[in-house]
């Protein structure tokens, strides 16, 4: 974990579908032990960018580097170190929680990499009581946590989260934030997209704004006293309005 390679580097990424240009010249690096938030309106290209990072889409132009190496294709060895969680959760509804985890753990083991045991992970994400229930009976929030458990069981170096906070209630969000903080301390690089202002401010070290397919600004948490102004700097990017709590409203009023 101590090696200083950058888990994800995107250099001049552009993606087009015919005349529709979804991304243009996006440069983005995510370092080990860094949580980066990706914010932007619907259709600004967040999901496309994450899909390119994980290799589900090939960029039309630009270069993708994973762990310091050029990756025109995301090979199996790369996929060992990357985990991807989306709001669609991607779990088999006809399998139990434990079976879902076990399937992917066994697939990983067959590829030559031992995965973490399911039970401690289920415990950690508060799903131990539901381990043998069919996932089809889960609430959205539970599925989201199970999807995260599956992502973490491979001990990835890079975690990509597409709207991880939607469908999570407050305790769920807090637990997710806790998990992210712990994993960050262990050196995990995280790139997450979100609409949720409070959650983004709480867990990220840096926020980048995606606007019409290109990077439209950035805010850093910074060290020491600077960190206090992070909320404002994120708000100043202009997209996310502080939504919940008296705090937020006061801030907004102050800005107006």
């Amino acid at each position: 974990m101590s090696e200083a390679v950058t888990p994800l580097e995107l250099d001049g990424i552009g993606k087009r579908f015919g005349r529709l240009s979804v991304l243009r010249g996006v440069d983005l690096r995510v370092e080990a032990g860094e949580v980066v938030g990706l914010i932007g309106a619907n259709g600004s290209g967040k999901t496309t960018l994450l899909n390119i990072a994980v290799g589900l889409l090939a960029p039309t132009e630009g270069e993708r580097r994973l762990g310091g190496r050029r990756a025109p294709q995301v090979e199996l060895a790369d996929r060992m170190r990357i985990a991807f969680v989306t709001h669609t959760t991607q779990l088999y509804p006809r399998l139990t929680a434990r079976e879902n985890l076990r399937l992917f753990a066994e697939l990983r083991a067959a590829a030559g990499d031992a995965a973490a045991l399911p039970d401690p992970l289920l415990e950690r994400l508060g799903l131990a009581h539901a381990a043998d229930r069919m996932v089809g009976t889960f609430s959205r929030g539970m599925m989201q946590r199970l999807a995260l458990a599956r992502a973490l069981q491979g001990r990835p170096q890079l975690l990509l989260l597409d709207e991880p906070f939607t469908a999570l209630d407050r305790p769920g969000r807090e637990r997710l934030a806790e998990v992210l903080v712990e994993e960050r301390a262990a050196g995990l690089a995280v790139l997450l997209s979100s609409h949720d202002y409070d959650a983004v401010v709480a867990v990220t070290d840096r926020v980048v704004l995606l606007e019409g397919g290109r990077l439209g600004g950035e805010a850093r948490r910074g060290e020491g006293p600077e960190a206090a102004g992070y909320r404002d700097r994120v708000a100043a990017l202009g997209l996310l309005r502080p939504s919940a709590g008296v705090d937020g409203r006061a801030e907004e009023a102050a800005r107006a």
Binding site: R16, F17, G18, R19, S21, R24, A58, R214
Partner: protein, 230 residues
Amino acid sequence: MGRLIPVVLLAIAAVVFPLSVETIFLDVGIERQLGTVQKIFYFHVPLAWIMMLYGVVCGIAAAVQLRRQSRGAEAIAIAAGEMVIVAGLGVLITGPIWGHASWGKAWTWDARQISTGLLWLVFVAYVLVRRYGAAGSERLAAALAIFGAVDVPIIYYAVKIWKTTHPSNEVVVSLPPEMWAALWPALGALLATATALVAIRARQELCEMELDDAWVRAEDPSVGTKGETT
């Protein structure tokens, strides 16, 4: 240079084609058994060869497109796939006319007829997928073309066996040398035309891609003047 080739090919075809028509209808004798209708052979056979040729070209170009993400290959694949349909239509129209005269039946389920028909269907499917498929279906269409090209010999061989287990009324016309001599110019003219059309269509397709590029660039707020006003 690239623009010139189709023009040259078309010019050659424009000269050769009338000459070949003259040879076919005035110089070569009328076939004794079939009569004048046999003349259709000089158009039918070249069209069939052109169809097979461009079927294979489309498959190969599609394979290059998949492996290399090459725009040029994609454009050629599209153009060749459409040429298969056009030439195939010619084959499927001239074939039954000839068959009707020689066998007394327009369609006899002969090996060549079925393989031509199925190949034609495969490439119609290719064009349908390209036209109506969702984003990303250009890769699916490419795989379709590759399978289609591989299918050509398989279909042919399968139908041949299918028929040999069963007596067929196939009439094999053995050609005197003068007929072959008349065939080559016709083939040359038609092939030149087809190649020119494919080249033009491929170029058109490339232009369309470039136009998309230009469109995207014009919309790009950081490049155009539109962005500065906002």
